[in-house]
Symmetry: C2
Subunit: 123 residues, 2 copies
DNA sequence: CCTCTGTTATAGAAATGTTATAACAGAGGT
DNA sequence: ACCTCTGTTATAACATTTCTATAACAGAGG
């Protein structure tokens, strides 16, 4: 998978990397059980430090997207704690809804946006 | 309005403040034209530095939630550049949708969540 | 044994967040 | 005129976070 990092972005490198990997999982570029490149390999490919990649992997592990095996490396393994995921996503959505309400964006418009995004990615 | 700041949160103080004010606007605690407390007053009330409040106000201004008048202070004035707001909200939603897809959260579940959040706030 | 994993421990540089003083210009009230 | 209230600007200092750089360690496999 092509990982694209924008060094001019104000988003932290390890978060960009996290997001790219989540994108990869969502779009089926990475499948359950796939092994991500080692921290050193990926760091070299992207041209960043090993520890930055390690931080991204640690975040992904703590969020339940990968399991890290000392011998095999980081393996895609999406947690199935759905209740917790729902809570987490609800939290993010809450902020978005508040901003939408301020901007006179209706519930229906948000629904449509979500549908559009699903279509856009072909889900 | 009661502004609640959590000093143990890992979220920056100025962002917590920004979010609380957006919450206030969304829930109609703050209305169009209302004047927010001066940076010094609010800083004293909360117990933080004037510049931190100023940063929150600056962010809110750049995002189109308030207009800052040198004589009157920060006045609630929600921008009406709806196209831009839609783009912005769509961006935030995109990340959320990707995470949802990874977690096997369906489009319908997201719709329901949004409806629930709207209900929760009484919109 | 050698090499590959992630992990840990330091250390330093750079950027960001927060606080602290101080001063300025503009507007309103007295 | 004077005082006081706005936001704004300019410094400075400090803590935290982010990113890099080296180095070493333990576990597993060839």
């Amino acid at each position: 998978m092509l990982i694209e990092i924008d060094f001019n972005s104000d988003e932290a490198l390890y978060l960009q990397l996290r997001n790219q990997i989540i994108l990869g999982i969502a779009t089926n570029t990475f499948h359950e059980g796939d092994v991500l490149p080692s921290v050193r390999t990926l760091a070299d490919e992207i041209g960043i430090n090993m520890h930055t990649v390690n931080k991204a992997y640690s975040v992904l592990r703590s969020e339940g997207y990968v399991k890290v095996d000392r011998r095999r490396g980081a393996v895609i393994s999406v947690s199935e704690a759905k209740e917790e995921h729902l809570r987490q996503i609800r939290n993010i959505l809450s902020s978005t809804v508040l901003e939408a309400v301020c901007r006179n964006v209706s519930k229906e418009e948000l629904h449509k946006m979500i549908d559009d995004i699903y279509k856009e990615y072909g889900f």
